[in-house]
């Protein structure tokens, strides 16, 4: 689950008033936000799995290295899947950021994903103990009530990753 959190006191005060004013429309926006997030996450997950699966570096394994990822392949395959999904949904204006931890021991990438999302037990710095592909996707969402409130910018941010078991 990805929750959007905007902590500004003024906004929360405004929202309280909005909640009071537009409880019904709010419930709709929440649903729509939840659905968008799930879809975006699924797409990111698929992209990550595709990248990890197709990015396994068999050649390196045959040469004796531990199983790792061919970073370029893994990233390309993940992006290809995302682009295909976005295209199938007609979504544009999305932002994706695919990162690969190619070595067998994984690693960590500070500042990734660019927005804080829940990443397992930690937030803000993606890390893995195995080769993995991380996909950050930022997808715009249409709001019902927030549109009426003239809130223009509405996106969901998801992050998914897949690894190769050793």
């Amino acid at each position: 689950m990805i929750f959007e959190r905007k902590g500004q006191t003024a906004l929360w005060g405004f929202l309280v008033m909005l909640v009071l004013i537009a409880i019904a429309s709010g419930l709709v926006d929440i649903y729509r936000l939840y659905a968008a997030r799930n879809w975006a996450y699924t797409a990111a997950q698929e992209a990550a799995l595709a990248g990890a699966s197709r990015g396994r570096d068999w050649g390196a394994l045959m040469t004796g290295d531990e199983m790792g990822l061919d970073g370029a392949t893994a990233k390309a395959e993940a992006e290809r899947v995302l682009i295909a999904e976005m295209a199938s949904r007609g979504i544009s204006g999305y932002t994706m950021d695919v990162r690969v931890l190619p070595v067998a021991g994984g690693g960590s990438i500070a500042g990734f994903p660019p927005r804080p999302v829940r990443l397992g037990d930690s937030l803000g710095a993606w890390s893995s103990n195995e080769p993995a592909v991380g996909v950050y996707l930022e997808v715009p969402v249409d709001w019902l009530m927030l549109d009426m409130l003239n809130v223009q910018i509405k996106t969901v941010h998801v992050f998914a990753s897949a690894g190769v078991a050793q």
């Binding site: 394994l61 045959m62 397992g120 993995a132 690894g163 078991a165």
Partner: protein
């Protein structure tokens, strides 16, 4: 003259005349005084004219004693047995030839007659007996019928002497001879005389020192006359004194006999005129140490003697002290002797004991006694002495003297013999001599040959040859070096089976002078070429050992003089003993060649052993892929291919490859060669090594041709599926 002397001796009547007469003729007639004394008895007594009264009878003219057999009433005197002559006796009688007579004097007689023989011998004459100035008897003694002479007392009875004073008497023959046997007297009666003789008023004995002077004095009573005897003589007054001077030493007994016809009395006094005591010590003036001699002393006229100095403690009129082994020094011997008169005498002798002389004569530095030198030679004969006062040379040193000296001899040829002698004497006369004889002989020579050669010679073991030698001017030869035993001045010795070595056969010959000549021949007996046997671990090799090689080299050799070791690994190099062993350790991998080279004069021989030191059997086995994908070939991925290597040991190798699946199942595969591989096709499984996930393990058991075994380390590979999964 003798008759006149007799007349003069009559004391009673002619004393003064006789004295005057004697004074006049004293010097010329001294000898006759003795005769006078013999024929001038003062008183005629009974007795035969032949012996008992002969001293009182003076012969005048032709008178002699004759043996006459007579038969009458006489008897022989007790000294002749006292036989009665009634049956005849033979005895000496006095025969007075015609015209001759015998005579004498007498005094204090009461009666007087003589015994004359009547005889039938027609030569007998008439006897006439006179006394006191008258003829008292005369008769022709011839009796025609008297066959045997017979003596009768004539006159018979005896003629009575008319006076007590002195009278003369005589018996004369005329017209023939007259034999007279005895005179017969009887004396008048008177008291016996007494006499007292003293010296210096003492009855003595008296001891005086010579020259002594003393006075004899005497008195007598009833003495008709006194006669001195003993140490004095002559008729003496019946009472008087007489000084005696300058009497020499001796014991003088003065006896004075005073007599009258009734008897006589005598007195004697003894004067011991003692000579001054003398003592003579006899000891040698000089002697030579260690001196042994006897020092003695003798004394005379001494009653005691006492020794001092070296005689201390000794006494006696004579004595001695035996000295033994006296050292050098002066020794005094003194004796003091004293006689009974208190006079003493002393004598001292000193014996100087000198050290024994010695002389040391050296000829050419030798004491001899015989010095033998080899000539020609120049040398010196020198001598030195000690404790000597003079030395005299003799023989070759004749004319040489002095306590020390020398004579030089130059170029004395062989065959010369010189004697040198020196005698030295010390003050005691002891001599010491030394004599040395120099004999100059010719130098010796010797020639030693082996098989007639002077060598050096070389033979091969076992060798046989003959050593011979000859010499000149030698008296003895001795074998040296390898020639042993007694040898003569020439000879030979056959030797056989002589083993290797260098032999020097030398003979040294010596002449009498001790000069030696030596000759030798060197023979080299060489051994056969050496025989060498080098073994490693008891075999001749080659042997193979696994690194690090450890083995023992053992070698023996015969006839080798020296051996040298060489090796390809430098573990055994240098000179070694001709036989021995040495351990080799730590030999590295490789071929090790050890060579022993032994040499002697006959050649060089070598032996070599080889040791192969190999690496220990080892090997590897490794999978081509450390990681594989489960059933990877189905994905186009490779299956496992195993490869291995074998090293060390001794090929060919056999490898038994064991592959253990993760499930534990072990599959083995045989491979060979030093490099092998086990591919899926070789293993008969295209999925070889990928059929199970997990860790596969592989190892190989290697065996070389020598049976050595080695298990390689195991290697693993991992087979996984490598699934992809989403991460939270």
């Amino acid at each position: 003259m003798r008759f006149a002397l007799k007349i003069g001796s009559s004391k009673k009547t002619s004393w003064l005349k006789a004295t005057s007469f004697l004074v006049v003729l004293a010097v010329l007639l001294t000898g006759y005084r003795l005769a006078f004394a013999n024929i001038s008895p003062e008183y005629l007594r009974n007795g035969r004219t032949y012996d008992q009264e002969s001293n009182y009878i003076q012969w005048n003219g032709s008178v002699a004693y004759v043996n006459l057999f007579h038969r009458d009433s006489t008897s022989l005197p007790p000294s002749e047995g006292g036989a009665f002559c009634g049956s005849g006796c033979t005895e000496q009688v006095t025969r007075i030839q015609s015209g001759s007579s015998i005579s004498g004097n007498f005094t204090y007689l009461r009666t007087f007659n003589v015994q004359a023989a009547y005889s039938g011998d027609s030569n007998v004459g008439t006897v006439t007996v006179r006394a006191c100035g008258q003829v008292i008897f005369t008769d022709d003694l011839y009796l025609a019928n008297q066959s045997v002479p017979g003596f009768n007392n004539l006159p018979n009875p005896a003629w009575n002497v008319p006076t007590a004073g002195d009278c003369t008497w005589s018996i004369s023959a005329s017209g023939g001879y007259v034999d007279v046997r005895a005179v017969t007297t009887t004396y008048r009666t008177t008291p016996a005389p007494t006499v007292d003789l003293r010296v210096n008023g003492s009855n003595g004995p008296l001891s005086l020192s010579a020259p002594a002077s003393y006075t004899l004095s005497w008195t007598s009573s009833n003495a008709a006359s006194c006669t001195a005897s003993g140490s004095w003589s002559g008729a003496q007054a019946t009472g008087s004194s007489q000084g005696i001077n300058n009497v020499g030493s001796g014991t003088y007994t003065y006896t004075l006999i005073c007599a009258n016809p009734s008897g006589s009395a005598s007195d004697s006094v003894t004067v011991n005129v003692l000579s001054a005591p003398t003592v003579i010590v006899n000891a040698p003036a000089s002697a030579t140490a260690p001196a042994s001699y006897t020092a003695t002393w003798t004394s005379s006229n001494a009653t005691s003697c006492t020794g001092s100095s070296r005689f201390t403690g000794l006494s006696g009129l004579t004595g001695s002290r035996a000295e033994t082994g006296l050292p050098v020094g002066s020794y005094d011997y003194t004796v003091i002797c004293t006689n009974a008169a208190g006079a003493s005498a002393t004598d001292t002798k000193r014996t100087v004991v000198y050290a024994a002389p010695s002389v040391d004569l050296k000829v050419d530095g030798s004491d001899g006694p015989t010095v033998v030198r080899t000539g020609p030679i120049s040398y010196s004969a020198t001598w030195t002495s000690s404790n000597a006062t003079q030395c005299t040379g003799s023989a070759r040193l004749a004319g040489y003297s002095g306590l020390a000296g020398a004579r030089s001899e130059a170029n004395v040829p062989a065959g010369t013999t010189y004697d040198y002698s020196v005698t030295c004497q010390n003050p005691a006369g002891a001599t010491a001599s030394d004599t040395v004889r120099m004999i100059v002989v010719a130098a010796p020579s010797v020639d030693v040959r082996v098989n007639g050669s002077n060598g050096p010679l070389t033979f091969q073991e076992p060798a046989g040859y003959t050593v011979s030698w000859t010499s000149t001017n030698a008296v003895s030869c001795s074998a040296l070096n390898n020639l042993s035993g007694p040898v003569g001045t020439s000879g030979n010795r056959a030797l056989s089976n002589v083993l290797q070595g260098t032999y020097q056969y030398a003979v040294q010959c010596m002449n009498l002078a001790g000069t030696t000549a030596i000759d030798s021949v060197v023979v080299n007996v060489n051994p056969p070429p050496p025989v060498v046997d080098l073994q490693v671990e008891g075999v001749n090799g080659p042997i193979t050992q696994v690194e690090p090689g450890s083995y023992t080299l053992t070698w023996t050799s015969q006839y080798a003089a020296s051996c040298t070791a060489a090796s390809s690994d430098t573990l055994w190099i240098g000179n070694v003993t001709v036989s021995g062993n040495t351990p080799i350790s730590g030999a590295l991998i490789g071929t090790h060649t050890y060579t022993l080279t032994c040499s002697n004069v006959s050649g060089t021989r070598s032996d070599t052993v080889t040791v192969y030191v190999i690496a220990p059997l080892s090997g590897t086995v490794s999978p081509t892929f450390a990681r594989l994908v489960l059933f990877g070939p189905n994905l186009g991925l490779p299956a496992q291919t195993l490869t291995g290597t074998v090293a060390g040991g001794e090929p060919p190798y056999l490898a038994v490859v064991s592959v253990r699946a993760p499930s534990g199942a072990v599959t083995t595969f045989s491979r060979s060669g030093s490099a092998w591989s086990l591919s899926p096709s070789a293993a008969g499984d295209i999925n070889f090594g990928t059929t199970e996930q997990g860790t596969w393990t592989v190892w190989a058991d290697l065996t070389d041709s020598a049976g050595r075994a080695f298990r390689t380390n195991s290697n693993t590979w991992t087979v996984s599926w490598y699934s992809v999964h989403g991460r939270p």
